[in-house]
Amino acid sequence: MASVRSLASVRSLRSGGAVAAALLAALVLGGVLLSVAGSDPLDGYDALLTGAFGSRYGLGETLVRALPLALIALGVTPALRAGVFTIGAEGQLAVGALAATATAVGLGGGAPAVLLLPTAAVAGALAGGAWAVLPALLRVRARVNEILSTLLLNYVALALLNYSLRTWLGTSTGDSTLQSDPLPAPAMLPNLLTGTRLHWGVLAAPLAAAALAWWMRTPRGLAYEVLGANPALAARVGVRRGRAVAGAMVVAGAAAGFAGWLKVAGVDGTLYPSVSGGLGFSGVLVALLGGLRPAGILVAALVFGALSAGADGLQIDTGVPASLATVIQGLLLFFVAIGFEARRRRRGVA
């Protein structure tokens, strides 16, 4: 699995005929499923689009769901470019959310927002980054495959989250299901668009994208690219492989942990055991579909966010079961993956 070079082969996300064709194929297949389920495919897709963009609420929902995906994807990009396939975002987001919640709840409602917001954010990022330190060390010092170590630690993180919610961080209101106390109001990110869940934290995505764009244009960005493609050469030109790999992994972890804080302080308001809920894995997909480039990643995150928000609309307007919406999401992803590749090859990028 040493090679993730092929990953970079999925390039940018500008529109193209192949992508359109892929979308069409997915839509036709999904349409067949919709009619089998007894609803008009056109109504179904209308509902999907309306759910994602048709209302202020839908738009806010699309953006709010794209946000953690974008952050995770942007954060993991340097690692993927360096050929380090870390898929620990799921667990890193969980511990980030855990640390952020513990900080916010621990400081309590008496503290002002100017204190609560940054401390919780930093706690989340630090915890996410810290969760990446062990796999980073193992990879650098003991050559332990990072795909596996990060994957395994995801499960450990979830166990830790469950344990914390069952014990020291559990709600004091006596709820039977696992959850924390609600975050104090000043620890919550203010709403950006009334009538939606969109909050000010959404600005983190374009900022992070800009930071990534800058980084990729620095010599360091090139060094990581060389590291991913030819580690021997990277060593030769003085790139400190261990540091670069560990650094990238920790940055990816910090981004995921930060996304965990955004999730709790922006949307959930309470820490649940399901806080990551597959976001970590989807985030890596978003990075790949975005071609490991900032703009592509933002677009891919929006596509994912829209699909997820739209699926709700699809269910509610047409009565199509949630499971079918999942199938259609899978089909879209499948065909989009093929479409991007076809387009890339037509443009003759090596």
């Binding site: 040493a2 090679s3 092929s6 395994l152 830790l160 997909l285 790949l288 089909l331």
Partner: protein, 303 residues
């Protein structure tokens, strides 16, 4: 805690994962990573349940194998002919298959109907030997699928070393461009591997429903496909290693279940332990050995 019980339970818990891992080992030896095995297992679990309830456990197994081959071929079509990213395609297959399994089960058994009657595949009892202390029940009183997994491991290990197909497979996974220069039909080889891998993953799923449970719900696989992926790596891409890797996880699961409330540690520690121990195992085995060189890479243009 009862060692005999834990061992026998570990074999049962390991069997579905082991079958999926055997298939995935072959797939990865040919140079592809298939993240779709989680979804394929669930599809196999449903297909197995459906076939078995309609026409007996054999039909269930056959139907599951068919579904697995189909999903394997779809993956091959997208990644080898469409050259789409393997990881994205795999996860999309898992997503779609998970949704489809839930949806189809609901069509089959709408709310308010009773659960289907799913006949179980037989358990093999070897009289006499099963009474051997500790290992008796683990080795000589298991579902036919457990024995099938061992037979498969033997067959796959032998084929990989000793048949032309095995050579072609290893060549395709190690260096597809050069393998193509040497006349290996790389795409066809990888496609065949994916079809076999899909079949075995689906079989692993069917084992859960048709081998043990006699029922289906959308959570029966519960992430076992990902455990199979881990087992392949722990097993250093060898069929025997895949069995062993599956066994490691199953053993801890079994210990956790059997110790139940008896242990003084929080349940989460038991949940996390197999993963931590696997990590420790990885640290020990990380040095030496290597995976297929071309694993996960896109097919070169001239192969």
């Amino acid at each position: 805690m009862d060692a005999e019980l834990i061992l026998a339970g570990a074999v049962r818990l390991a069997t579905p994962v082991a079958l999926a891992a055997l298939g995935e080992a072959v797939v990865e030896r040919s140079g592809t990573i298939n993240l779709g095995i989680e979804g394929t297992m669930l599809a196999g679990a449903l297909a197995g349940a459906y076939g078995a309830s309609e026409a007996g456990w054999g039909a269930g197994v056959a139907l599951a194998l068919g579904v697995g081959v189909f999903l394997g071929l779809v993956t091959a079509l997208a990644t080898l002919w469409g050259r789409a990213n393997q990881l994205v395609v795999g996860l999309s297959i898992t997503l779609a298959a998970t949704g489809a399994a839930t949806y189809l089960y609901e069509l089959w058994r709408p709310t308010g109907t009773e659960a289907p009657n799913i006949p179980l595949a037989p358990t093999v009892h070897v009289p006499g030997l099963r009474d051997i202390p500790f290992v008796g029940p683990a080795l000589f009183e298991q579902s036919v699928f457990s024995y099938a997994a061992v037979v498969l491991a033997v067959a796959l290990a032998w084929s990989l070393r000793r048949t032309g197909a095995g050579l072609a497979l290893r060549a395709a996974g190690d260096d597809p461009a050069r393998a193509a220069l040497r006349g290996v039909p790389v795409r066809a080889t990888r496609t065949a591997a994916l079809a076999l891998g899909g079949a075995l993953a689906a079989l692993g799923g069917a084992v859960i429903t048709v081998g043990y449970l006699g029922s289906f719900d959308a959570n029966v696989t519960a992430g076992r496909g990902y455990v199979a992926l881990a087992a392949v790596i722990i097993g250093r891409w060898s069929p025997w290693g895949a069995l062993a890797g599956a066994g490691v996880f199953a053993l801890f699961d079994s210990v956790a279940i059997q110790s139940g409330a008896a242990m003084a540690v929080p349940v989460e520690v038991l949940t996390a332990l197999p993963y931590l121990v696997t990590l420790a195992v990885l640290v020990v085995v990380a040095r030496g050995g290597r995976g297929p060189r071309a694993l996960g890479q896109a097919l070169p243009e001239d192969a």
